[in-house]
């Protein structure tokens, strides 16, 4: 049996309670949302196995994942494992000698016999072929990174969902890139 002292809730009380609850829920959602945007997706280059899924599973038309180059690690080789197909018969720039399916890796003559390799981001699809080639046959100076000028920072990254090596992780927005060897 209910106590007589207990007040019945009026319609006004209900409205006040509802508004308060709404405010609390709204504030909570804002806090959660703010803390979520303080991190961004990034690839740990030490875990990446160059499976090629970054090219096929990003929600964007052209993947937000791009190849980047640690120039200090590069050997500036004439025959580059990241640039040339392993069975290439010539160390030239012919399309049939190149490993990249979109010719996104550009080579520039420095001095005999050294060449500089740079990534044309607008052509790079993040397939990691060059990364795997450089890792297997060179110094391992190429690696993949999520470019934050392109990434839409989905709550559930569609590449992370299929990444076979759990290389995708959230990192603080203040340090959004993981450099090779320092991740």
């Amino acid at each position: 049996m209910m106590s007589d002292k207990k007040k019945k809730l009026t319609r006004r009380d209900m409205l006040r309670l509802g508004l308060s609850a709404g405010a609390v829920v709204g504030l909570g959602a804002t806090v959660v949302s703010k803390s979520a945007t303080k991190t961004v997706w990034q690839i740990d280059p030490d875990k990446c196995v160059q499976c090629g899924k970054c090219a096929t599973d990003c929600v964007l038309e052209l993947s937000a994942v791009k190849c980047v180059h640690a120039y200090a690690v590069c050997g500036y080789c004439e025959l580059c494992g990241g640039y040339h197909r392993p069975d290439a018969t010539k160390t030239d720039t012919a399309a049939e000698s190149q490993l990249c399916p979109t010719s996104a890796l550009e080579r520039t003559f420095i001095e005999d016999p050294y060449y500089q390799y740079s990534v044309k981001e607008e052509l790079c699809i993040g397939c990691a072929k060059c990364v795997k080639g450089c890792d297997a046959f060179g110094n391992g100076s190429l690696f993949l990174q999520v470019r934050h000028d392109r990434c839409v920072n989905c709550n559930e990254c569609s590449i992370a969902r299929v990444c076979p090596s759990d290389a995708f992780k959230r990192v603080p927005i203040e340090e959004p890139y993981l450099l090779k060897g320092k991740a």
Binding site: G52, T56, D57, G75, G133, G138, N139
Partner: protein
Amino acid sequence: MKKRVIPNDVIIVMVVMVVIATVAVVRMRQKPKGDVNPYKYDIEQYKKVDMALIGYCEVAEIKIDAELYGLAVDDDQIYVTGDKLLLLFDKNGAETKRIELDGAAKCVTVDADKKIYLGMADHVEVYSADGNCIDRWKTINKKSIITSIAVSESSLFVADAGTRQVYRFDKDGSLRSSFGEKDEQAGVPGFVIPSPYFDLLIDRTDQSLWVVNPGHRQIENYDEDGRFKKAWGASSIKLLGFSGCCNPSHLAMMPDGSFVTSEKGLVRVKVYNHDGEFVNVVVPPNSFDEHTVGVDLAVDSTGRIFVLDSSRSVVRVFEKK
């Protein structure tokens, strides 16, 4: 004014064309998905070796609890350098001496008098057979990264990946000469060293010097004054040649003058005859862990091949089948 009527057939054809175009555009914009990834780069195919080409079998291994760098053998002992360590083993693989060093010795060689020469980062240290430090030579260059040393009857040769040169010393540590620096006017192309792997050895048959020029995937022959004589080696992912940007990473010589080579990247150990013609495989790529590098080699007087597997921290011993 007469109203123009579009025939039904034309409308049907137009609708069908629009549908086909829409489906084509949608399908073209779709990224390939599913089990078959068109961008997957399969390098496993290059690791396959015909078993008939493998001419050696593994007969023993020496496990060592240290990070390993360099390897040498003579008639009695096996010499292994590790991080601040020089370890001596007898022919059965039993440890006979453990010498603490001040730094990392990346390479080691032994002369006929049992003096042990260690290639430290930028200088050479000399030890007696009982493990006492006899001499510490001057720093070659602040940029030096000594990767290999070899000793002849009268000289010690040092391969320096930092300065990309070979230095010739008298056995008392006096620098006599150096060669390998790029000199366009003199037509000297120089050694191309994209990574810190730069090996050399003294020919067992004529005491000349063989130096790996890894950026050219070649092994070059010089006299002791550094005059170029000849070279062999070709770039190829196939067994006949050397793969990748810069190989072979290490070199040794059999008693009959055949060469034993190891490569990084596609890690494999092979034998070539003295003219540089492929003979057979000692260790195929699938016999190494992924990302194994720094596979130093040595051969004893009976033709046993010693392979330093830095990834597993073991010295693996191979004999002809």
